[in-house]
Symmetry: C2
Subunit: 210 residues, 2 copies
């Protein structure tokens, strides 16, 4: 059965809320409470989870630990993922220094740049490779995810080359709507979309949802 | 009438797709085609837009330019928004250099840091203020949006201070689930959530939606 992508996108949010409940010692949670925390209707949560089997008991709520384990298994969060970073300019260096990846199983294992002044430098425990050697390096040690932090003009080319190397998931920080072939996932980190979702509430007369 | 936040979050995506259609000369688009581009059902699009009035004619599709103008008006995209950045480390400097904000009407007009070696420096046309002066600076020239690019430990404090200065929209890059009072919007830029939405498809046996 094909699961709609929007459902898959909501599962990490459920997993995060459950992990927070688990760490505060909660054993059971209702779809009402989970929904309230996440701004999703309880019916939506029940429907989303129903794709993956029966988790809750009618009127009893979900077992926090069991559901969290199951979501982690479904999403593949219980393993390590290898990532390659292309672009070690300001943004790339900020990504290399980001402390949120490691605890969630995501590790940058290779970094590339085309700037001669960066190639060969040590950064965050990695030696920066020449982007020209991308195919050679990833041929010797494949990665699961490619992170693209190059300027807009060269981003599509970087993505094409990652895909040719067999990378099937791309996190794109460049401000372009990039194209990938069928079977390859791509997500764009786009602060403008986030801002545009907030300005509605800044306008006079629009009430806040919180 | 209260519009559900998930609907508001989808409107910028509609606006972006329409802007792209407009720039390629298209005059009319169906909810089917728009939905296909965005991975949203046509029924969902019609329902989302119905909150704001009647846009399309049955069987005729939407007038691209008219709908785009309307969405821009609804979202407040047809004006300039002033933003303050807190934190000018690696990440903050990458944000200052980000070229995607300006064309969409978002402008960083003040930057703050608590590091003595940064305070007073010129960067992207701005003089970096001492974070200690946040209230004074924003008191003299209010901003609409606060961008938080400080470490996790100090992020909640930075957010609290922005809120006290009257800032009602926060873009949070720090890896914490921050709290804001009722009436204040906050969005988190969270690459881990994006990655977790892709790993599902990397697991053997899960077919790709594309």
């Amino acid at each position: 059965m094909e699961i709609p992508p929007v459902v898959i996108d909501r599962l990490p949010l459920y997993a995060r809320a459950l992990a927070s409940l688990e760490s505060s010692g909660r054993e059971v949670v209702s779809s009402q409470e989970l929904g309230q925390q996440l701004n999703v209707t309880p019916a939506q949560i029940r429907k989303d989870l129903s794709y993956f089997g029966r988790f809750g008991k009618q009127g009893r709520g979900y077992n926090v630990q069991k559901l969290l384990e199951e979501l982690r298994r479904i999403l593949g969060l219980n393993r390590q993922w290898r990532m390659a970073l292309i672009g070690t300019g300001r943004l790339g260096r900020a990504i290399l220094g980001y402390e949120g990846f490691g605890p969630q199983g995501f590790r940058i294992v290779e970094a590339f740049d085309s700037d001669a002044s960066m190639i060969g430098k040590e950064m965050a425990g990695l030696t920066i490779h020449d982007t020209a050697d991308l195919e050679k390096v990833l041929g010797a040690g494949p990665v699961d995810v490619g992170i693209v932090a190059v300027p807009a003009e060269t981003a599509q080319n970087a993505i094409d080359r990652l895909v040719k190397c067999g990378v099937r998931a791309i996190l794109n920080y460049a401000p372009i709507a990039a194209h990938v072939p069928r079977g390859v996932q791509i997500k764009r980190i786009d602060p403008v979309l986030s801002l545009q979702g907030m300005t509605y509430y800044l306008k006079a007369g629009n009430s806040s949802p919180k």
